[in-house]
């Protein structure tokens, strides 16, 4: 079931009536979510990703635009009739019902043609429970379960009625680090197995990148970029998207293009054919630095972070916008970085230029 959003807008009247100015939570959001795909809505808090999710679920009414499930216009349809599965950020499991009763709850609401006999309901419930591997906790009360377990019960409850669309609102935010990794793999596996069109909202870009088929980066209600995670990572349309994706984050410098050469500080660091002379922001991915004794870019070394397999050189540079410039290099390269400065040469495809005013991407041919 593909989900189509057409110029979806949502405007909230501001809290105090007097001032009257409104908050545009979602601004003209158009996007077609292909059937069976796992989509990540990504962006800092307050960027309208949750509002979009709730509009798709029907709990929020859009002020403008349309929503289609397949080719049915469901904009006016209330949540009850959309048959959507929704997993809340803090799970919203019914505290007074056991896990089994929680999972059975949606099935007991099915009417008319979809009504199921009792045994089939139980069978489906256990099937969903097995899917999320909590079939041993069926008689427990939510208060007796850990965060992760509660999360999985919420997912089971959403899946059991085989909804057309599965929506997840920051599913991993309440979990501890180790559990978060494990659960996101679970979500990935479940989605692949069931093939349900799934949209999940998160502010953790690493999580979105790791499991989504496509991600949508949003900022203040406006869609910045849509695409496969790696594509968006490798080809950000603006500085915000570049800075938002990737850990450790992208290093940003002030630079200038003169005669198709990029100057950072006063040294030319890269040939940028086809780019007019203009001051630019220069974004360099941490993995875009190659330690090179006579590399064009030299920074003052301030420390070495060993993160398991690869090593990160912590340096500073006067025209860097962030306090620290961090690069990721292989371990042995780090061994001979013992001086007070280190020089790099740059991998062109890891360097992005952005217009100073519009912060839009400025492209240059990469040989």
């Amino acid at each position: 079931m593909k989900v189509v959003l057409q110029n979806l807008t949502k405007v909230f009247p501001s809290r105090n009536k007097k001032s009257g100015e409104e908050v545009v939570a979602v601004n003209d959001f158009t996007f077609e979510i292909p059937d069976g795909k796992l989509i990540g809505l990504l962006g800092p808090s307050g960027c309208g990703k949750s509002t979009t999710l709730y509009m798709i679920s029907g709990l929020q009414k859009p002020t403008g635009g349309k929503i289609f499930f397949g080719d049915d216009d469901v904009t006016e349809l209330s949540a009850e009739n959309r048959g959507v599965g929704l997993v809340f950020q803090n799970y919203a499991l019914y505290p007074h019902l056991t896990v089994k009763q929680n999972i059975l709850f949606p099935l007991q609401n099915l009417k008319g043609a979809d009504k199921l006999p009792k045994n089939q309901m139980l069978e489906r419930a256990y099937e969903a429970a097995k899917l999320v591997q909590i079939d041993n906790l069926m008689e427990r009360k939510p208060s007796e379960l850990s965060g992760g377990q509660q999360q999985r019960v919420a997912i089971a409850r959403a899946l059991v009625k085989m909804p057309k669309v599965l929506l997840l609102d920051e599913p991993l935010s309440n979990l501890d680090a180790r559990l978060r990794l494990q659960t996101r793999e679970e979500i990935r596996r479940i989605q692949k197995e069931t093939g349900i069109t799934t949209i999940f909202v998160t502010h953790d870009q690493e999580e979105a990148m790791s499991i989504s088929d496509m991600i949508v980066v949003m900022k203040l209600g406006v869609v910045q970029q849509i695409g496969a995670p790696q594509a968006v990572y490798d080809d950000p349309t603006n500085l915000f998207v570049a800075k938002f994706l990737g850990t450790p984050p992208i290093n940003v410098f002030e630079g200038e293009v003169k005669a198709e050469k990029l100057y950072v500080g006063d040294s030319a660091v890269l040939d940028v054919p086809g780019v007019a002379d203009q001051p630019v922001y220069v974004g360099i991915r941490p993995e875009g630095f190659i330690p090179d004794a006579n590399g064009p870019l030299t920074c003052n070394l301030s420390g070495v972070d060993v993160m398991g397999r690869d090593v990160s050189l912590v340096t500073t540079h006067e025209s860097s916008l962030n306090p620290v410039v961090r690069s990721i290099v292989d371990a042995d390269a780090a061994k001979n970085a013992n001086g007070i400065t280190v020089s790099y040469s740059l991998k062109p495809h890891k360097v992005f230029l952005f217009n100073k005013e519009t912060e839009e991407r400025v492209y240059f041919e990469v040989k």
């Binding site: 006016e76 209330s78 085989m162 057309k164």
Partner: protein, 295 residues
Amino acid sequence: MTHQALLSEKNLQKVSTKQRIVKIIVQVMLYTFLCVMALIVVFPFYWMIISSLKSTVEYRLPVPTLFPQKIMWGNYVEAFSAANLGRLFINTVIVGVVSTLLSLVITVLSAFAFARLEFKGKNALFGALLATMMIPGELFTITNYITVNNFGWLDTYTVLIVPFLVSIFYIYLLRQNFMQIPNELYLAAKVDGTGDFKYLCKVMIPLSLPTLISITILKMMGAWNSYVWPRLVTKSEEMRLITNGLRDAFTDMSGQANIPVQMAAVAVVSFPLFLVFIFLRKYIMKGVSRSGIKG
């Protein structure tokens, strides 16, 4: 796991119109039920108000009239003048305010002890307190009368205030609210050396402010409506409260009370309370819901 059948265009239309109709029906039913119940609740009031505006003759008419033929505003004037309301009003306010404040202090202290401090026999004591709520108050009146007389408190403000300062229900309400404040806060305060009392004032009271406000309002209303005890323990006119001042002022010689004026008096007494509720409704509501009575 197959997908559900797609909603065809036709029945999609049907579903959304059905949904709208259901929505309207539900709204209509809700409002009719509420309005009918509101009417039932308000009707006795309406009857009380129009009775208070009828002349004694009209009130005695065998066929009761739904609206007074001759509006007797005089009844309200008589209700005011016959019972020198000014003096009664001041007495009631003084007694009400002082007893509310003192009882608030006692309630906070006791609730704090029951909620936060640990001591032997705490639950037994609290259980005993709850048990006393089960005993009808009429029994205590005479024994308490003898006690206050021996203390020589008769016909003073003390006798109107002191005996009922401890209200167990409010201690219970506040204790529930205090127990919802997490232990960690108490531990943290202990660690940086704040004493129990400072913790009570700095942390617990601000956190349970809504409940405290609703207790204060409800307690004021109680003081306002009290009738049996004030009448018993006050002799002189100056010490009378509004409820008994009004009630006694209208029986003429033959013992046939002038009911319309009495109704006017009751209306006069309940009107300030009604205003208090209208303005402080939000607080009472927040207080009660925040107290989260967990049985």
